[in-house]
């Protein structure tokens, strides 16, 4: 692919900001707008921008497709695992109040973990779908 200087410079400047914003939306979702779904798609948009500018092979070196498959499953496991932990602690499934010393602390930790699981799965799934579509044209 023929390198385009303007695209490269602008993308290198923008991608860290997009990833930072995704992390902000992920971990600040309790207080501001956003959450796991939004953070996941914004994070994957940053990596898709990278692979559009620098090529698919360079992007696959950052995150190999095998990792993406593991990560997509890992997010669901984190989410469902929080529910199983609350079951083992003697509560209902996904009853976060038992996770912490008080109800508020437990709810806070539970929501944070669950949103993390959502974010990991959504980001990995978006990238899997993008790599699957974009990889078809490769000879």
């Amino acid at each position: 692919m023929k390198p385009n200087l303007i695209l490269h410079v602008v993308a290198k400047f923008l991608i860290p900001l997009i990833i930072l914003f995704a992390l902000y939306v992920q971990f600040h979702g309790d207080f501001g707008p956003g959450g796991g779904f939004q953070a996941g798609v914004i994070f994957s948009a940053a990596l898709i921008l990278y692979s559009l500018v620098f090529g698919l092979d360079a992007a696959e070196q950052i995150i190999p497709p095998q990792w993406l498959r593991i990560l997509a499953a890992l997010g669901v496991v984190i989410y469902a695992g929080v529910g199983v932990i609350t079951l083992l602690l003697g509560g209902n499934y996904l009853d976060y109040s038992l996770l912490g010393s008080s109800q508020i602390a437990g709810q806070h930790l539970g929501i944070l973990l669950v949103e993390l699981g959502v974010g990991i799965t959504v980001a990995a799934v978006m990238l899997i779908i993008f790599f699957a579509f974009a990889g078809r044209g490769r000879t």
Partner: protein, 196 residues
């Protein structure tokens, strides 16, 4: 006042974009217009105080799905010829026009009974919304009620949604995931063998 002006401007651009999409025949331009349509919708969601939805619409609608459609276009462009040019004009446009007019009139009639935007007496606000607004902060300690409802009160729903997203990835991987080294050559060889 400024809200009405922004709303009217965005909705007018939405209408113009959709008419342009219908009348356009260049697939590349249509995909770009889809992206613009999503971006305008995201702006509309921001005006309606739904930044969460606007994030998703801007990232997925305007960004990722546009890229996916471009990737698909890159695969089919050279093989697919536009069929609309040669399509016979046998049908009369009157029947579809009448159907669309009646359906549109029914939808407009239906909007007369919808409560106004943000009406506190609307059925959607009177059922469980009051409970969430009053109890979400003391019960979960999370100031953002949307996150509290999504992750805590409706945790089962969200688990189901994440599973749906995961299933979508599994389906895509099963359908078009694997690397296929030069399928075209294989098909050609097979065709020649069949002819022989």
């Amino acid at each position: 006042m400024i809200d009405i002006f922004i709303n009217v401007t965005l909705l007018a651009f939405l209408a113009i974009t959709s008419v342009a999409i219908v009348r356009m025949t260049n697939l590349f331009a249509i995909v770009m217009l889809y992206g613009i349509f999503s971006l305008l919708s995201a702006g509309l969601f921001v005006v309606m105080d739904a930044p969460d939805v606007a994030f998703t619409e801007a990232a997925v609608g305007a960004g990722i799905s546009t890229v996916l459609m471009l990737a698909t276009l890159a695969l089919i462009r050279n093989q697919q010829k536009p069929y609309y040019a040669e399509a016979p004009q046998a049908h009369r446009p009157w029947l579809p026009l009448i159907v669309v007019a009646i359906t549109g009139a029914a939808l407009v009639y239906g909007t007369w009974d919808i409560p106004g935007f943000g009406d506190p007496n609307a059925p959607a606000q009177t059922h469980v919304a009051r409970y969430y607004i009053e109890n979400a902060l003391p019960e979960t300690g999370v100031p953002n009620i949307v996150t509290a409802v999504l992750a805590s009160y409706r945790g089962f729903d969200t688990l189901g949604e994440v599973t749906v997203v995961f299933t979508a990835a599994v389906a895509v991987l099963l359908l078009i995931g694997g690397r296929r080294p030069k399928p075209a050559v294989k098909l050609k060889d097979k065709g020649e063998q069949d002819e022989a």
